[in-house]
Amino acid sequence: MSSAIVSQPHAVDANKRKRSVMIVVACTFIGALAQVLIKFGAVHLEHANFLSTALSIFTVPSLFAGYCLYGVFAVLLVYALRDAELSIIYPVIALTYVWVSILSVVVFHETMSPLKTIGVGIIVAGVAVLGRGGTR
């Protein structure tokens, strides 16, 4: 009887955590799209100083679109953070690297070296460890 009372909140927390982790997974894909757009725009920044780099967010269209997607990213991140621990959610944001690597192959036709493939695999494994058993 007492174990049922104790275990129920844990079950709810685990479901909320998984939902939040799934939100962040979607969030990181949006973040990766933002980075690809920013990479398109970053060629304008080659010899820019610090101030003009900051201002270019508003003057270069692809940079502006990229940072707008970062806005969507931020809103989703806040909703995920509401129900889950920061120490789980923040590391999951590293999935952005995975999506960027995949998008680099798809969009920029870059080759996926064995080292990058290993890196992507290890990051996904790390995220899976966080998503499954973060609270234990």
Partner: protein, 118 residues
Amino acid sequence: MTTPVSSMAFVLGGSVIGSVGAAFLKSGALVLHGHWSRILVNWRLGIGIGAYLLSSVFFLKGVSNGELSVLYPMVSLGYICTLAWSRIFFNEALTFSKCAGVGLILIGIIFLGIGNSG
């Protein structure tokens, strides 16, 4: 190709600023109630988003020159800081699986940094 100290400073600084931003977003998210538009008048979220933007400008400057195999592992400072803020400010447990997950992610980032440099 060598990595300028300024690039390292931008990446390390950006990592710490980003982790502080995440902590503000978390504290802002905790006091978020009612209609979604409340998100616009939450000063904690404002600081968090500002810090995030600033950290991305730092990253953009940092990785624009220098070796990614050197610069990518430096983002680990941000992850370590975030675990510290989680423990100190939000009283979150520092469990084995969290440390293992973060450790794997950092090893993966190091591999990506080396892979991207080649």
